[in-house]
Amino acid sequence: MKNLPKYFKGYRAVAFSAPFFKILEAVFELLVPFVVAAVIDNGIPAGNRRYILGMCGVLVLLAVVGLASTLAAQFFAAKGAVGFCTNLRYALFEHIQKLGFSELDGVGASALITRLTSDLNTVQSGLNMMLRLMMRSPIIVFGAMIMAFTIDFRSALIFAGAIPLLSVVVVGITLWCIPLYAKVQQRLEKVLLAAKENLVGARVIRAFCKEEQETERFAAENGELCREQKRVGRISAAMNPLTLVLINLAIILLIYQGALRVESGVLTQGMVIALYNYMSQILVELIKLANLILSVPKSVACASRMSAVLAIEPSMKNGTETDVPEAEYSVELEGASLRYSGAAEDSVSDISFKLKQGETLGIIGPTGCGKSSLVGLLPRFYDASSGSVKIFGRDVRDWDTASLRGLFGFVMQKNRLFSGTVRENMRFGAPEASDEDIIEALKAAQAWDFVSEKEGGLDYVIEQGAANLSGGQAQRLCIARALVRKPKILVLDDSSSALDYATDSRLRAALSSLEYKSAVITVSQRVSTVMHCRRILVLEDGRCAGLGTHSELLKSCDEYREIYESQIKVEEGGTSA
């Protein structure tokens, strides 16, 4: 959490002003019983109406000054809390942009989104409340005690005794409840999980006729939750009654003690009333505090989660070279391996290949064999754990990452489009692209047909998550988005899986006749998608099981032949199967 205070930058004075004005407000409020005591002791016995009027004027004045300082406090608290969180949110977003793929994998996108949205909002309201109210309660409580001491030392001892007891009750019950609330939260998550499972798995549950058992299971989880809630409820319900008892007992002592002191002539009746009023003020404050105090651990937990994200150091160091050197090979891998952090085994091990401009390479292998990991090494999404990766003859570590990635058109397996027009999406990686460039790319990606039919054409608005496009349409737009960049290296990572065979083959034909020269790497599980590549790399468990042309591999590579046979050969054997 040490890395958080710096985001108060620009709001430090403001953040300190809020509690200051709050203290001022509390002081004015504490003066009220004093004034009332003066009315009772001096005004009433003397029948001095003018004095009473004056003192009531003082009360109004205190109210006005109190209001002014509260307004100042609220203003500064809002400014400080919101400012801090605005800074923090920006810093967090900026920080995430700097993280490498391995760090992103580690935290997970949905966790990051939660940090930036609901966690931050929780911290904001918690901080705002803390700046405003947390300062007030202790000051009223201890201020009331100090005022009591100025009235009468012996009576004030009752305050000195009551306040620690009250603190024990409030803090004790809170501390007792926090772990119980955590348990309730866990139970709630289980209920949530059970409900979610039943929605996602509705078909399977019905197929196995499990509706009744699932309802019973849910009822059991739900009952557990209810029990935990009642348990914590029983304890927290005791807080206010206990406080009430303590305060009223203290008041009883005060009045009794006050009577003795008045008898011995030390105190006046008005002073006893003032002491009584101070004790009542404490009660009101403590009840407010008790309601607030529970939200503090929640905000702190959120803040520390954000702090943890900010503490993640990007593991990659950016190189400096930005120009594209003359080189024989566009892509050169030499014994490259990749082991993800925390993994026990390499995902890619000892892969070597070279690729020139205009050449095509197919990569094939079963799910989980490391195909995506392998191509992720090229634009330096991940650093090779051993071996070397060179792009245009230069090690990727020496490249400025942005310039390096600028050479690529990379269509990812889990791709996504963004909300906005087709044109905006096409310019995502090429801000300067003209409409002609875009249409050309759309045509090559077999997407122009459907885009031109959509209302508005290039101005057709894609909804968030591309909800208004079919899977195949979205995939073609992702390919077009890569082509708009006129990339020197085009990587298609399993990016035609949602296309039917006919479209897929037209796409392949279009890619091979692009007017600019690209090195093209196609990753797929389908033999038909890669069999026409100049060379094919067969991956099995992260290792190279074969590298060559289709016919070479059929002769020399068992793994390739196996895949080929399972997908194609049977039909070539005719209808006998």
Binding site: L112, A238, T367
Partner: protein, 576 residues
């Protein structure tokens, strides 16, 4: 659903705890009366403290009474708290159970057409909000009204003049609060709009961070984010500041009332209309009297919110369930003759999907359904399993119309492996025995061996008792698929539905599973949705689907001869 209907539903749910509600109200009334009586006793005790002679006996009596009443009040408050908790949490449990039960009974059409997030938030968040808001709002409302009238009564008893001052001036704070609140409403609306906009951007950019990084969009994303962030800051700051004015301004009005009561009260004391102790009590009441006015305005908003939540929940609970089939006969001893007779179906009336499909499948035959992704192959599965009902024609199994037998008896006849594997949280064993809860250890292991799942299961830390996390957690896609196949293998139903079942297992395992499937399918009627041509080739009938329609059906050679869509599909894949 209309507000009135919702309120009726709410009343019927609360009716179950009406005894407790009655207790709660009675206790609240007692608590208010007692806690307000204590200041009077304190005031009388203070009255006994006068410089000209103090009666300790009287003081002692008043204080003892105050002490006892305090203890009683505390006890009543605590019991009331527990009762309120009980009403709230029991209601939550009951409503949540009803909602969940309804989810299990609703037609899949409903679940498919609603976002999971929306349904989940109804079952979880809305239920909480409803119960908290309604019940707490109710008690606060009641206690508030009680407090106002009791305080007013006590004040009137002490001094009608002073009471009048307090009673007339205090509602001012209510107007002030109203005034401030009406100004914040539009700011909060603006804030939540801005927040929504920013959240959408965060969702897209952070969710798609890898694409953003790959296409060098980071700087532009940061610019867009920064701009929204600054705008949000200024709106939020104003919203928070203005809304935080409610408390201080009402407090200010209260302070003014306090001063006025003090002025009039002191004057009355001088005139002999009231004692000093009475003044002190009335001053204590002046603050208490004002409080409920502020709270009630908050309670009204909370109640409105609770009603909205209740509406959403009861809408779900009141949704029409699937027609009960308890009266229908069971489909017994399934042999697996499936007859599809001229069926019609569409998800929405304006988009007809299946129009007059007929197909006859004899016991033990294999039907392959092929076509590009998204062509509606899963629709057919939905109809076969009666996840959806046909709108015309009929489907029969062994001569019985499936609409005229119980769904459970029909579905027990099928073994289904879907494309999206679904595992529930629980152990590996829990997941395997889902279709046959009484399976013996030997049967489980035999099934797992048949699907080649045994070898990876036994290598897991706790073997068959290894817990599976949410949605499969740490298992690979292939392993999840194997588990799903194993559970069908174990329950051994007479008919099978396989939806691209083996598409994500690595080649070697796939070949083995293929053989296991051959074993499983022997003698069983099977419907297979597959991309793999080898599976398709071995089918007795191929259904070719395109654009949601069955365009061709026949065997491989028939379809090739026909030279239609199937032939084009086939040739495009193998065009040299």
């Amino acid at each position: 659903m209309k507000t009135k209907d919702t309120l009726l539903k709410v009343a019927s749910v609360l009716g179950k705890s009406r005894l407790l509600m009655f207790c709660s109200i009675a206790l609240a009334a007692a608590s208010v009366l007692m806690s307000l009586y204590v200041p009077i006793l304190f005031g009388r005790a203070i009255d006994c403290i006068a410089e000209d002679g103090i009666s300790f006996e009287l003081i002692f009596g008043f204080l003892l009474k105050a002490g006892l009443i305090t203890l009683a009040t505390a006890a009543v408050q605590w019991v009331m708290g527990i009762i309120n908790n009980r009403i709230t949490f029991d209601t939550v449990r009951e409503v949540r159970r009803q909602a969940f039960e309804k989810i299990e009974l609703l037609p899949l059409k409903y679940i498919d057409s609603h976002a999971y997030g929306d349904l989940l938030s109804r079952v979880i968040a809305d239920v909480d909000q409803f119960a908290d808001g309604l019940l707490m709002g109710f008690t606060q409302f009641f206690t508030g009204i009680m407090t106002i009238f009791t305080t007013l009564g006590f004040m009137l008893a002490i001094s009608p003049r002073v009471a009048l001052v307090a009673a007339l001036l205090t509602p001012l704070s209510l107007f002030v609060a109203r005034f401030v609140a009406s100004n914040t409403h539009s700011l909060f609306k603006k804030q939540s709009e801005m927040r929504g906009e920013q959240t959408a951007l965060i969702d897209e950019m952070i969710g798609g961070e890898k694409v953003v990084a790959a296409y060098g969009y980071s700087d532009r994303a940061l610019d867009r984010f920064g701009k929204l962030n600054r705008e949000l800051e200024s709106v939020t700051r104003r919203a928070i500041f203005i809304s935080s004015l409610v408390n201080p301004t009402t407090r200010f009005v209260n302070a003014l009332v306090y001063a006025a009561v003090c002025l009039v009260g002191a004057g009355t004391v001088i005139g002999g209309g009231m004692t000093v102790g009475g003044l002190s009590a009335i001053l204590a009441y002046a603050t208490q009297y004002a409080k409920p006015f502020n709270e009630i305005s908050g309670v009204v908003a909370e109640l409105q919110n609770a009603i909205v939540c209740a509406q959403r929940i009861f809408e779900l609970i009141g949704e029409e369930p699937e027609q009960s089939d308890a009266m229908l006969p069971e489909l017994g001893d399934i042999r697996g003759n499936v007859e599809i007779k001229d069926i019609k179906f569409s998800y929405s009336p304006e988009k007809p999907l299946i129009n007059g499909l007929s197909l006859s499948v004899k016991e033990g035959q294999r039907v392959a359904i092929v076509g590009p992704t998204g062509c509606g192959k899963t629709t057919l599965i939905n109809l076969l399993m009666r996840f959806y009902d046909v709108s015309g024609g009929e489907i029969t199994v062994d001569g019985s119309n499936i609409a005229e037998v119980t769904r459970h008896s029909l579905r027990r006849g099928y073994g289904m492996v879907l494309q999206d594997t679904w595992l529930r949280s629980g152990t590996i064993r829990d997941n395997i025995i889902i279709g046959k809860p009484d399976a013996s250890e030997e049967e489980i292991i035999a099934a797992a061996k048949a699907t080649h799942a045994h070898s990876f299961i036994k290598r897991l830390p706790l073997g068959y008792d290894t817990p599976v996390g949410e949605d499969g957690g740490s298992l690979s896609a292939g392993q999840k698929q194997l588990l799903c196949i194993t559970r069908v293998m174990l329950s051994a139903p007479p008919m099978l539905i396989l939806d691209e079942a083996t598409s994500s297992i690595d080649t070697k395992t796939e070949l083995r599973v293929q053989r296991a499937f051959e074993k499983l399918m022997k003698g069983k009627t099977s419907f297979i949705v597959a991309h793999r041509l080898s599976t398709i080739m071995s089918a007795d009938v191929i259904l070719v689907m395109h654009g949601g329609n069955v365009v061709e059906q026949g065997t491989h050679s028939e379809l090739m001869k026909k030279g239609g869509f199937y032939a084009e599909l086939y040739n495009s894949q193998f065009a040299k």
